[in-house]
Subunit: 555 residues, 2 copies
């Protein structure tokens, strides 16, 4: 059966029963239909005194077209932990609407390790992204309105740093001229739209601890600069209060369920390049208060995703992860070892061994954060025993362990061994999490440390304009912020074709941006697309409600 067929056949329980597993009373679950709910702000406040559960990060090797199954493993491990008697919840990101109309929408997980309801999660879900779009665009409208009515803040319309957003793949809106049509419509200027997941408001919602913190961070957004180059903040435009009101409900984490009726928090979805790519801090911290084990994931491979999870999310939210699962597949190891996609079904132990270099480097990197990773081999039917053994042997040599997991085909039954080992790691208390760098390292120093220690670059290449910009921000008091790297996810280098564990490369930084509300500096090292386009034949052309009332073409 396909993922969607499995998802449709799910025996879902009323969301109140899922909440009960975590001790959340019905009145504190704000239902959205019968299978989704938001956990109330009041309830979240009420559990702040609880002891925290154990936080487990699922990350992966660099993604390849073979697929790794990071979300599948996150969901599977959650079910596996429940199956061995632990009270566990998973925390993952929400999906973006726009891309579903270009390429097909995605399951949250796969096979027998999925979160449902799948259709809703790919469409409007509980409306969080729509709320973010509204809040984001309210500030944009208020900014242009401020200029229109006299521009008391003296915003330089050539230096506006805040774009509009839409949850749609719409290349026509990437670059526009707005305020046309004469005096009644404002002062013409260049502008543009990003997709909603690229909004700084999205990153803020995902990093804010509570509504007060949300409002403060929204106020900190820099919307543009004056002619003297001093920043104009969102709070100068007085939009922060109304934006918070628009986001009040969206700040409450969403509870849904896995196919095995275990709790899953699905909340927030910032870009994994110009933002940090993790589900919301509120969802993770709430899950930790109501579950004994919380399994979460980070975007892309460990070089980007885990690094940002540790250095941005955990640092900011004071989280202490206690175990890291690194997902790898035989097929992805083969691609890292030089095999073409068409040849992945043929046994090739040598290629697996060669490709393990990529895995090995991620293991080494994760240890730099004080963590002891365990490897999950996400099993595919084409994998041979010899290939699996090759990975296990390699990982043993790195002082770690690789566990074969069959959750895709068997659900929790197929991943109990990994769940047991994860519990062992947690109970042994071997992890001693620490970020890669201290707050007081210089901004350039932070970029350099990530580049050299994680990407293994020889040098960071940045012209004086970029270095001066970083210094300027330090003088303005932003020097203590972490750095959010925007780099290709396919390689440790900035060249997406260099798989494995490359050396002898530099890291060129093309541009730096300040996300003052989210609280990080973005270092852009390559082409970053913040508004995707649709393909020649968008999947939307085939999406429809069929005679049985089901949605065709979305998956």
């Amino acid at each position: 059966m396909s993922d969607i067929e499995i998802a449709r056949a799910a025996n879902k329980k009323p969301i109140q029963e899922i909440g009960q597993k975590l001790g959340i009373p019905n009145e504190h679950l704000l239902p959205f239909g019968h299978d989704k709910a938001k956990v109330s702000e009041d309830y979240i406040k009420s559990v702040q005194g609880n002891k925290n559960g154990h936080l487990i990060l699922v990350t992966a090797i660099n993604p390849t077209p073979a697929g790794e199954g990071k979300t599948t493993t996150t969901v599977g491990l959650g079910d596996g932990l429940n199956a061995i008697g632990k009270k566990a919840a998973v925390c993952i990101r929400e999906a973006s609407l726009g891309p579903c109309f270009g390429m097909k929408g995605g399951a949250a997980g796969g096979g027998y390790a999925q979160v449902v309801p799948m259709e809703d999660m790919n469409l409007h879900f509980t409306g969080d992204f729509h709320a973010i779009t509204s809040a984001h665009n309210l500030l944009a409208a208020m900014l242009d309105n401020h200029i229109y009515w006299g521009n008391e803040q003296e915003v330089d319309i050539r230096r506006i740093a805040y774009r509009r957003v839409m949850d749609m793949n719409d290349r026509a809106l990437r670059e526009i001229v707005c305020n046309l049509g004469g005096v009644a419509n404002g002062f013409p200027r260049e502008a543009g739209f990003d997709i909603t997941v690229a909004s700084e408001v999205m990153a803020i919602l995902c990093l804010a601890n509570d509504l007060a913190d949300l409002e403060k961070r929204l106020g900190d957004i820099i919307v543009g600069y004056r002619r003297d180059k001093t920043p104009v903040y969102c709070r100068d435009i007085k939009a922060d209060g109304a934006m918070t009101v628009l986001l009040q409900q969206a700040m409450q984490p969403n509870l849904v369920q896995t196919l095995e009726n275990n709790p899953a928090f699905v909340h927030g979805g910032p870009f994994a390049n110009i933002a940090h790519g993790c589900n919301s801090v509120v969802a993770t911290t709430t899950a930790l208060k109501v579950a004994d084990y919380v399994v979460t994931e980070a975007g892309f491979g460990a070089d980007l995703g885990a690094e940002k999870f540790f250095d941005i999310k955990c640092r900011k939210a004071g989280l202490k992860p206690e175990a890291v699962v690194l997902v790898a597949t035989v097929r992805a190891m083969k691609m890292n070892g030089g095999v073409a996609k068409g040849d992945l079904n043929n046994e090739n132990v040598d290629a697996v061994k060669k490709g393990c270099a990529n895995l090995g480097r991620h293991i080494e990197n994760i240890k730099k954060f004080g963590m002891h990773p365990i490897v999950a081999i996400n099993h595919f039917v084409s994998d041979t025993d010899a290939e699996v053994a090759a990975i296990q042997e390699f990982v043993s040599g790195e002082g770690s362990e690789a566990v074969l997991c069959k959750h895709w085909a068997k659900g929790s039954e197929g991943i109990k061994e990994l769940a047991e080992k994860v519990v062992e790691i947690v109970e042994a208390g071997k992890s001693d999490f620490k970020p890669l760098y201290e707050d007081d390292l210089s901004l350039f120093g932070k970029i350099e440390k990530i580049a050299k220690e994680i990407y293994r670059a020889d040098e960071v290449i940045a012209d004086s304009k970029i270095r001066n910009q970083l210094k300027e921000w330090e003088e303005q008091g932003y020097g203590n912020l972490p750095v959010c790297m925007a780099k290709t996810q396919y390689s440790f280098t900035t060249d997406p074709t260099r798989r494995g564990a490359p050396t002898g490369h530099d890291l060129p930084v093309r541009e730096v941006r300040l996300s003052a509300g989210a609280g990080f500096i973005v270092a852009i090292c390559g082409e970053i697309m913040t508004m995707p386009g649709l393909p020649k034949v968008p999947s939307a052309e085939n999406i429809r409600i069929n005679e049985a009332g089901q949605i065709d073409g979305l998956f």
Copy 2:
């Protein structure tokens, strides 16, 4: 107490209890929180065999700055009917988000005749408008994408007739140039945004009978023209199926409650100028299947709102209203009689009598649709007995009756007399509803009939370009469509300052538009703003969550 204080003090019941009053089982109510729910599509199908309840329209005199209280009376009458033992429901429109950040948001009703939850209804509610925004903009993105990838349909980019929408007051987006930035971003062209309530998709959602009808109508939207001036339809761009999927949930009517815990359907909100300004057909027809009395309202005064309700909504949906309530106030009569707003608190029986001319003309007009209107005098504390008596005497002279209603101050207790009279009218079966004109009257003939019979204009002024355009549409098969008039709501004429019952005026038609999906021709007779702006000090500047967790500044 203010409206918001009364609303916050409401003793709301769980929405399932409200559904039970109408016999809707819990599993067919899709909850949104504890006080809002959508009625499932399956349930709506299951009640199609039920006998219809009685449909009552609440309309009003031309609006004045004094306020009339049309929604308040709609809600009050619903409560009044329930209080005298009838199973009654009200059907009203949803509020638009954008304007709440300019001027303060509005209650649904007022005083002790309100629908709650008020905050939600002014914010995201159940996400319907966000879904409409997404569906609308998906078509726009697919249209520009179609052109980008080769323009197989040969759309003339100078003749694109479809704009984008946003639920925001954002004048900067009224006129833009999009697709800038070079080859990768498309072919630069002029474009713009309307507010979501002005979207043809909104009008379609509100007129569609079911999902199949919705998909067909979406497919009929004209997105632009080729160089040979033949229309390009939404279905040529293949967006209709995916738009329907995005709107599937939004098509289900929303159930909430009045302060007296009676059922209220709040669904859809098309503009009352370039569209027909009524709540959705699905909500009204569903309410008629589950309630014995359904009270609904139409936008603006009876010259625009009731005419469109009758000639567009009732005609299209096959509805047969059985009673019409015409709302008037002493204060509004005084303004129609020439009194300035500052002098409304002083008794002025002569001005009331003079202003009754406006009311009288609406009574005459409503009779032209085969209906026998009853007048509701929505009581204000400043009204004197003599003033009230003046209206009642005038209305008697017109062969009708005017009932003093005190629902604003007393809830259902204050409007029982009107409820009893409405039941009498319905039970007497005196109404014999018919639209003003037949389908086969020419398009210009329809405009002329409305202008002469309803607005009492001497002539319709339209240049040959407009007349030829109407003939062209007739040749293309659109001649049987009704006409949707876009005219100022403040006067029977196109001059908003001419109150009372003016004569000796013409109706100039400036522009005509074809809404082929919604199924009407729009005749624009004056300035129509489809994207509002924000005022110098937008209310958004003062909106925030206060220390008590309540929303300040929204009302």
